[in-house]
């Protein structure tokens, strides 16, 4: 939501002043990862509900669900992240939304989606652990809510399929004006990263922590790469993705699952021969190993004209979704900073009044924890000392029975609640694929419930604070 206009993307122009809301707590997906706390349903559970049908390397996973009024589609392609390809790959989904063979400019294409009861489409590149992804989403009202005999899903799915399979390529290349326009927009997008200080500081902390690693490659790519991107080179990038990635299509819909599956395949038929699972897709995510032995964290201080300083810290845990200690890591992060009863909230905010937000976030795939707090610059030493004291307290096993219980309750609630959003199950399916470990929600929750203080101490003893990033006031 870097450059978004609140209220707009919801498609409801009228937001009833929603952007003026001032919250008691900063809601920042604290438990694990950016999209919900996805770790819950593993493959075991999914196999009961998701029905998968594959043709070539196109895999359509359908989950029938009466609870939603919308049909939701999420298409994902994935490749190991590459420093040389990252920027062009980030640009690609934006250019794909510029037109298809049938609707050759973006306004015609968007009007076609709008005409289907406002079918909403998005296309973006993402970073998931060591993988770069291209993700397209579609949401459209289920046929039954818009009238008899209407085939909204099929029409919207065909449009989406065209975006991916039949882009507008006059003379075999993307239109020059479209590519130039998107390059310029992306240059601005990169420049504008500094506008949102909270996410900017977060991104910088990732870069500082993971410099030289695949995960340290910027999610949005690099401005320096932009001049090398041409209408023709982008076609190469497009073909590289089609040939080098499987296509996973997740569909959650109240419509008839058999019909939905057929309509999805009909829309994606041209891609069946094109998508190939290379060695790339079988690679399994690697968890960042914890630092061995004590060493001082890397400290980076950056200056900018800001009212509030941002303190971010990066930690390695050596434990990931596939590890045996993963349930204990969830509890560790919960005790540290995922909830309002967590140590960071209680000690940094409630007791010392140093911050409005002070929390920790777990990157499940990489086993990294990121701590963030907005503070007064002069309180840096004090805040950092309090945070490090919380890490030490967990190493010493200072965990009250109440805190342990509340954390387990909180994790359970988070997992269950996120199942009320259609893309959550798809996310979990992806995690299981990436980590090569199936986990059912029941088994994971059981394991969380069995975590002891000794387990938490074992995880804590391997956690290393490896990066400190401070954004503070002052001229550059």
């Amino acid at each position: 939501m870097q450059d978004g206009w609140p209220g707009y993307h919801a498609g409801m122009c009228v937001s009833h002043g929603a952007y003026y809301l001032e919250y008691a707590f900063f809601c920042w997906a604290a438990v694990a990862d950016d999209l919900l706390s996805v770790v819950k349903w593993g493959l075991n559970c999914l196999q009961e509900v998701f029905v998968t049908r594959s043709e070539g390397d196109v895999h359509v996973h359908v989950l029938p669900s009466d609870k939603y009024k919308m049909s939701s589609v999420w298409i994902q392609m994935e490749r190991p992240v590459s420093r040389t390809e990252v920027t062009a790959s980030v640009l690609l989904p934006h250019v794909l939304l510029r037109g298809t063979e049938r609707y050759q400019n973006p306004e015609d294409l968007m009007q076609a989606f709008d005409g289907l009861y406002g079918a909403s489409i998005s296309a973006r590149a993402g970073k998931r652990g060591d993988f770069q992804t291209i993700e397209l989403t579609l949401q459209v009202p289920a046929d039954r809510y818009v009238g008899r005999g209407v085939r909204l899903f099929a029409s919207a799915m065909n449009l989406l399929g065209d975006v991916l399979a039949h882009p507008h390529l006059p003379d075999g290349a993307f239109p020059r004006a479209a590519v130039e326009s998107e390059i310029e927009l992306h240059r601005q997008r990169l420049d504008n990263l500094v506008n949102d200080k909270i996410s900017y500081a977060m991104e910088r902390c990732v870069e500082v922590l993971c410099e030289g690693e695949a995960y340290g490659v910027s999610r949005l790519g690099y401005a320096a790469d932009l001049p090398d991107i041409t209408p023709q080179s982008l076609v190469d990038t497009y073909r590289l993705w089609l040939a080098g990635s499987p296509l996973h299509v997740y569909i959650v819909s109240p419509d008839d699952p058999e019909r939905v599956t057929q309509e999805a395949f009909a829309a994606l038929r041209p891609l069946v021969g094109a998508c190939k699972t290379g060695a790339a897709a079988t690679a399994v995510m690697t968890v960042s190993p914890a630092q061995q032995g004590p060493s001082a964290p890397r400290v980076v201080v950056e200056r900018m004209d800001v009212s509030q300083a941002k303190l971010n810290m990066g930690l390695r845990t050596g434990v990931g979704f596939g590890s045996d200690d993963y349930p204990a890591l969830l509890v560790y992060n919960g005790l540290l900073g995922a909830f309002e009863h967590s140590r960071l909230f209680v000690h940094v905010r409630e007791r010392a009044s140093l911050a409005y937000y002070a929390s920790s976030r777990l990157d499940t795939l990489k086993g990294l924890i990121f701590i963030a707090a907005g503070i007064q610059e002069s309180d840096y030493d004090k805040t950092r000392a309090i945070i490090e004291e919380q890490l030490a307290a967990l190493r010493r096993g200072e965990v009250s029975e109440d805190d342990l219980r509340y954390t387990k309750e909180g994790l359970t609630h988070h997992y269950l609640q996120s199942d009320d959003q259609p893309f959550t199950s798809a996310m979990m399916h992806m995690f299981a694929r990436f980590c090569g470990r199936e986990r059912s929600v029941e088994s994971l929750m059981d394991a969380v419930m069995r975590v002891t203080v000794a387990d938490v101490v074992r995880v804590a003893s391997n956690v290393s604070l490896d990066a400190v990033y401070l954004l503070q006031n002052g001229g550059a």
Partner: protein
């Protein structure tokens, strides 16, 4: 107990007004895992001045007090309320806006226990001098965080142009100076004025047994013995019809200017139904003329005047209304002029019928999508109800909407004299 079935939508809403005046709404969605409840008082940052229901005198409070009160409600004599919710695995929060304060939780178990916690903590204030002072440090950091947010600064800049020094242009949370004045006694006074059940709405959505929840809430309220009382008198700020200023600007560490511009509404429709029609009609002309499917939007992008985040929004209550458009722009003044000129020109010709039909369908689809979110249903239903509107009437309003409604809404809003804009320029000091 009054239950309305929205058969086309597959939803049913139960409403009951309790003896003490509390409005209770329950919308069961039993295939969801969560229960989401919000408890809202009709009290926000606009209520700086009000008539004390006990003394009948007119009282003026420091800016940001409604939001401060919201923060302080979470602290009790025997510890924090978060811990009570944590104990039963629930996730609480709260927010304050111009005209309301909401306390909420979501949970996936122990629904009755959590509803009781919600009602009890909001109905048992506990403030001390010491805890009020401690909260000032936290809220100061919250306000400083907002100060670094270019979007907020542009929006409040535009509200400042529309409304001058009115509370309508003052940040909901107040300022780092104004919150320093707040005392424990102020908080109690505002609490007593606005937190009576007769001024409040409870909305429960998700997994819920309607009869059981209603019974629980009724007996919880009866036990507290609130006497029925007249609603508090809101004394809302008066202002001029025209914008106070045509233009405001400020500087911030951003890479690119950010602009907000729009029109200040002159006449607000008297009936709530007319306002609802007006809101939907406005949403449609904005989307048709400025949305992703509009020729103008893509022209602005390709001419380098805005990026994909450009958007438009509209706010209308019984007292005020305005539009707000904009986003990041290297040429913010040119962008504002181009959009204004295009909208003024459109007012002189017939509204395109095809675009009207397309965006109307889109609005219907998006309304259906909103019903998949318990949180969106609860918060939107409540905020509309406080403005005497009905969220579930949206579908009817949209279906009955005509191109003439859209044309009228646009012509009564897009007026040269009502235009204002606000820019946040890069300070030049960023890295």
């Amino acid at each position: 107990m009054n239950t309305v079935d929205y058969t086309r939508l597959g939803e049913s809403l139960t409403h009951e007004e309790l003896e003490n005046g509390l409005q209770v709404y329950i919308l069961p969605k039993n295939d969801f895992r969560q229960t989401y409840a919000c408890f809202t008082t009709h009290y926000g940052s606009l209520d700086q001045v009000f008539r004390d229901p006990e003394t009948r005198e007119e009282v003026r409070m420091p800016d940001g007090i409604a939001h401060f009160l919201e923060h302080k409600m979470f602290e009790k004599e025997h510890g924090d309320v978060f811990r009570l919710f944590s104990r039963s695995g629930a996730q609480p929060n709260a927010y304050t806006s111009f005209d309301l304060t909401t306390y909420l939780f979501s949970c996936t178990s122990r629904v009755t226990e959590n509803i009781t916690t919600l009602l009890d903590f909001v109905q048992e204030p506990y403030f001390t001098d010491e805890s009020v002072e401690r909260e000032k440090g936290i809220i100061r950091q919250e306000l400083l965080m907002y100060q670094d947010n270019a979007n907020r600064r542009a929006m409040y800049g535009l509200l400042g142009a529309y409304y001058g020094s009115s509370p309508l242009a003052t940040p909901v949370g107040g300022t780092v100076e104004s919150i320093e004045e707040i005392t424990k006694d102020d908080l109690y006074r505002c609490y007593r004025a606005f937190y009576h059940p007769g001024n409040m709405i409870l909305f429960v959505v998700g997994r819920a047994d309607v009869a059981e929840v209603l019974q629980l809430v009724t007996s919880n309220q009866e036990a507290k013995g609130f006497a029925r009382r007249a609603r508090p008198e809101h004394i809302l700020p008066e202002g001029s019809a025209r914008p106070e200023q045509k233009f405001t600007e400020t500087r911030l560490a951003v890479a690119q200017p950010r602009v907000a511009f729009g029109f200040k509404q002159t006449d607000v429709p008297l009936s709530a139904r007319d306002r609802q029609v007006n809101e939907e009609a406005t949403g449609i002309w904005m989307d048709a003329l400025l949305g992703r499917g509009s020729p103008l939007f893509h022209k602005l992008v390709d001419d380098g005047l805005c990026d994909m985040g450009f958007g438009a929004d509209y706010e209308l209550t019984s007292h005020y209304g305005y539009s707000m458009m904009g986003g990041n722009s290297r040429k913010p003044l040119e962008l504002a002029e181009r959009v204004k000129d295009a909208l003024l020109a459109q007012c002189d010709s017939d509204f395109p019928e095809e675009a009207f039909l397309r965006t109307k369908r889109k609005a219907i689809g998006r309304f259906l999508g909103l019903l998949d979110s318990p949180q969106a249903i609860a918060s939107l239903y409540t905020s509309l109800k406080l403005r005497d509107m009905d969220l579930f009437a949206t579908l009817d309003v949209l279906q009955e909407l005509t191109v003439a409604d859209v044309q009228n809404a646009m012509r009564s809003h897009v007026l040269e004299d009502q235009f204002a804009s606000s820019v946040v320029w890069p300070s030049g000091a960023q890295a």
